[in-house]
Point group: C4
Chain length 233, copies 4
Amino acid sequence: MNAPESATPAVMAAIAGIREELCTLHAELVRYELVVWTAGNVSARVPGEDLMVIKPSGVDYDRLTPEAMVVTDLHGIPVDGGWGNPDLAPSSDTAAHAYVYRHMPEVGGVVHTHSSYATAWAVRGEPIPCVLTMMGDEFGGEIPVGPFALIGDDSIGRGIVETLSGSRSPAVLMQNHGPFTIGPTARAAVKAAVLCEEVARTVHLSRELGPLIPIDSAHIDSLHQRYQNVYGQ
Amino acid sequence: MNAPESATPAVMAAIAGIREELCTLHAELVRYELVVWTAGNVSARVPGEDLMVIKPSGVDYDRLTPEAMVVTDLHGIPVDGGWGNPDLAPSSDTAAHAYVYRHMPEVGGVVHTHSSYATAWAVRGEPIPCVLTMMGDEFGGEIPVGPFALIGDDSIGRGIVETLSGSRSPAVLMQNHGPFTIGPTARAAVKAAVLCEEVARTVHLSRELGPLIPIDSAHIDSLHQRYQNVYGQ
Amino acid sequence: MNAPESATPAVMAAIAGIREELCTLHAELVRYELVVWTAGNVSARVPGEDLMVIKPSGVDYDRLTPEAMVVTDLHGIPVDGGWGNPDLAPSSDTAAHAYVYRHMPEVGGVVHTHSSYATAWAVRGEPIPCVLTMMGDEFGGEIPVGPFALIGDDSIGRGIVETLSGSRSPAVLMQNHGPFTIGPTARAAVKAAVLCEEVARTVHLSRELGPLIPIDSAHIDSLHQRYQNVYGQ
Amino acid sequence: MNAPESATPAVMAAIAGIREELCTLHAELVRYELVVWTAGNVSARVPGEDLMVIKPSGVDYDRLTPEAMVVTDLHGIPVDGGWGNPDLAPSSDTAAHAYVYRHMPEVGGVVHTHSSYATAWAVRGEPIPCVLTMMGDEFGGEIPVGPFALIGDDSIGRGIVETLSGSRSPAVLMQNHGPFTIGPTARAAVKAAVLCEEVARTVHLSRELGPLIPIDSAHIDSLHQRYQNVYGQ
């Protein structure tokens, strides 16, 4: 099986492009040292289809190719295994990604890592306070903590969706586990994962040596508003 | 539009050289891990002209080429967009850089990062005390903190200029934001950014485990005097 | 002497494959910054033989080739020196590796490093508490501390075996020394070494700023059970 | 001037070999992140001659070539400038290196860095306690602190020699400044610099979270004795 049976040429082309992009984006997780060994993954929704593409389970980042990525439906059932192998299992976090796509239609990409500083906050169950202009820009406030949840059913996905619905933050720190980030695209979700670890680290370091100066919520609103609408090209 | 309309061949050659240099210097920010994603920038004054050159907004460091750099006037208005594109926006920090060039004629280069340890001091609003011979050499005393300021007008630039005028330090830690550094050249400002993070890190680590031994102010004067006049070739 | 005198072609082919694999795996120790200079080593059992293969003593990682690896018996006596040189001494930790292979027949690979965060716990003689889902997955509980032991006899090997026998953890933190990890294969032992440092770091960072939320032992059992039986391909 | 005027072909060949070695060794300082920008240097004695070879002042590590290294006498007076340029100044730390060679005839190499964790101990004026088997091996006890000393005369060199004479440690932490390490060869001094930072970091991390378990001095003697006489090939 090389593609979903009913896929049109346009959908197949879209999937091919997404596979390339996911390969590039997993390399960003490695470059920014957000993952070790095989412990982290990026997925992307196939726009307009009930399909997503995700990393195969337990495969080294060095061995990932576009063809390795697994296409599944939005319940995580593989419809096109990586490397043309229908038995290649998708990431063990697939159920959580799929739950997000089913319940947050505006989300086009999801990232999961165990990046060290972000996870350190998650082990204390403590949100990261918004004390950096960079946090106002990207997260629009604190980065919240989600519930403890075991892998194996919809608990993790539900925890992500309940925590992020109505929040401006694209990142949630799942308790005792690690961050999940979302975005309109997989690239935006990777950017949120990179900045989540960066701000987790900077705020951690700052608090090691004394109290932090807060930022007024009106200033946070202003930073977030400007960054989301003016920054970049 | 490929160059300021009134530019002479000599000015155009100077701009071409600056674009090359800025490309090299942004790679130094990446190498020393002072920036993630697109969050940091270097600019240079065009000597003798009311012009500066700066990174375009929101462009990945990997994609930067000399041609990508944007030439603006000293109010940050683009006069030659990067990649020959008049609509390529300069860095969102351009107004702060431009303010510095307008008010500090001795400055030839400006750098802004959110490097982690320097920013950690800025979140507490705490200057870095001068307890390292390397700090005496390069900064001639503590590294001061500048005010909280929002992006969008001259507040950041004014905060930088007011804090650094009359200081021997080429670095200021803008509260809740991150360091800005200046120098007679863009390369000197990048060196100050690298050393700012290095000393922020070393002094942070030292203070984690106990009180720091101060350095006499007369010794700091002596170190600074020697380094600024004798070091190097 | 180029091979154990009694080796069959099949054993010699197995040894050649193991030498290649060990060369690749030592590069992983370097990549994940678990070792500096020459201070860390990986070994592998030759399946079905009373033989093991290990790094030569004091040789830079950059200079390691498959041919450099030393074949010894399970008391650490060289039977085929690296680079065809019968006098090339095996790692000074060979006795500890050999002791493990003699007393734990299920072990196919052993790794020793002085990775910083794991060793930091070992200097306090403190086990790493299981507060991360990643720790439940890979270690099935806390990472235990082994006794202080001097190099030169079987003390280190005995300390490793006594601590790990009956534990689900493939890692032990030898007091004032550093981690040893085991696995069914050398690759699995390297994975355990990488994850040991990763969780040592994350739990360290978390505890710097406050108390940690524990994970129920029933949840740890569930995580470990699932990861050992379902994860990967 | 391309060589000391009185140099024999054998001495000139020795100097050429040392220049190559120093080029390689400065790259090790960069690889292990012991230095930033131009702030660190390695020197080597020319065996049997009153000569030494050292890095030129303020030159980027990327631009260093064997030919860039400066040959001086043992008072730091250049006798063969780098790149054949008699005016190329040697490292601003040359006087300290030269003092060591004049007063410690057994020393063949000297290294100076401002590596972060080692320097953090130096800012508190606190020796690093010997709580790691790796420290027993390489340093034979604690790593001592030397006095505060200004650059410009023999104060730094004298502080190094007085602290290290009669110590088993090849490293001294100069107060408010950074580590200097020595060895029978430049490579051995670089190894000591790498291990000095490694143990400074591990012991720092350990002490952040609680009290350290000491190692008996008899055990330290035993570790040091064995490592100096048995380790390696």
